[in-house]
Symmetry: C2
Subunit: 142 residues, 2 copies
Amino acid sequence: MASNSEKLKSAGLKVTHPRSKILEIFQSSPDNHFSADEIHLKLANANENVGLATVYRVLTQLELAGLIEKNQFNKTQSNYEIKKEHHDHLICTRCGKIVEFNNPAIEKMQEKVSSEYNFRLTTHVMTLFGECLDDKCQENKD
Amino acid sequence: MASNSEKLKSAGLKVTHPRSKILEIFQSSPDNHFSADEIHLKLANANENVGLATVYRVLTQLELAGLIEKNQFNKTQSNYEIKKEHHDHLICTRCGKIVEFNNPAIEKMQEKVSSEYNFRLTTHVMTLFGECLDDKCQENKD
DNA sequence: TTCCTTGCAAACGTTTTGCATCGGT
DNA sequence: ACCGATGCAAAACGTTTGCAAGGAA
């Protein structure tokens, strides 16, 4: 497996401090989804002086390089996660928990729907919103 | 079927010019999806002097009243359509065409996925992006 | 040394809000 | 006449961009 530096280089990006650090953050939390602001905050907490504009620029570059993925769960901000096999999301509207899932049967039917309407399917967004039944979340029930 | 005035009244909203006009726009194009700006433009073209802020306020109220539905197809702006039976969308990324579809089998599997992950499903977003094979769209192929 | 990268501040587009005025009921 | 609804302008919000200074190769 390639190192972070190699990944950046092969994307045509110089290996700089902000880029390495941001990539590290994603790799150390492979199941987490971060907003640009959260990344910025994490860097600040680690005494890394990186401007918010740079965070946005780096996130865009990493996405373009196929190293991370951008999600639009809510209207207000974008969320980024490290690139993995394709999956969709299940989000708890009470505690914010995000679960990744992959359901080949649904994907197949999406293809079928598309061809029925004479479309060539390229991508899709499928996000399920609900309430998780975890103890931690249930405790906050009103 | 209730008139527009009755719908507004039963939502606790006064029957005003902007509200009636906006509701009319949606009803006269039941298959169209409009942004706030498009509504604003349509009103201006019809020599209706309605402020953009009012358009946003009315759209929010109509959504709250269950008369229209808000969609987030792209990051930049929200789209509104008149409320119908539940459906999802298929969008052509080349010509912007939006097709509505409803697939009970997929919906059933979404329920199944949710319960597998111990979630009580409340809503979902499913939007398929592709390229439609309509003549009009194909003409624009590069 | 080159030219990519960064930080800062200003610009951006959409949406929201404050406030004085207007208008249904 | 009351109180909600409106128009306008300004603010808010996440994100992008211009520019001069900094840093990897």
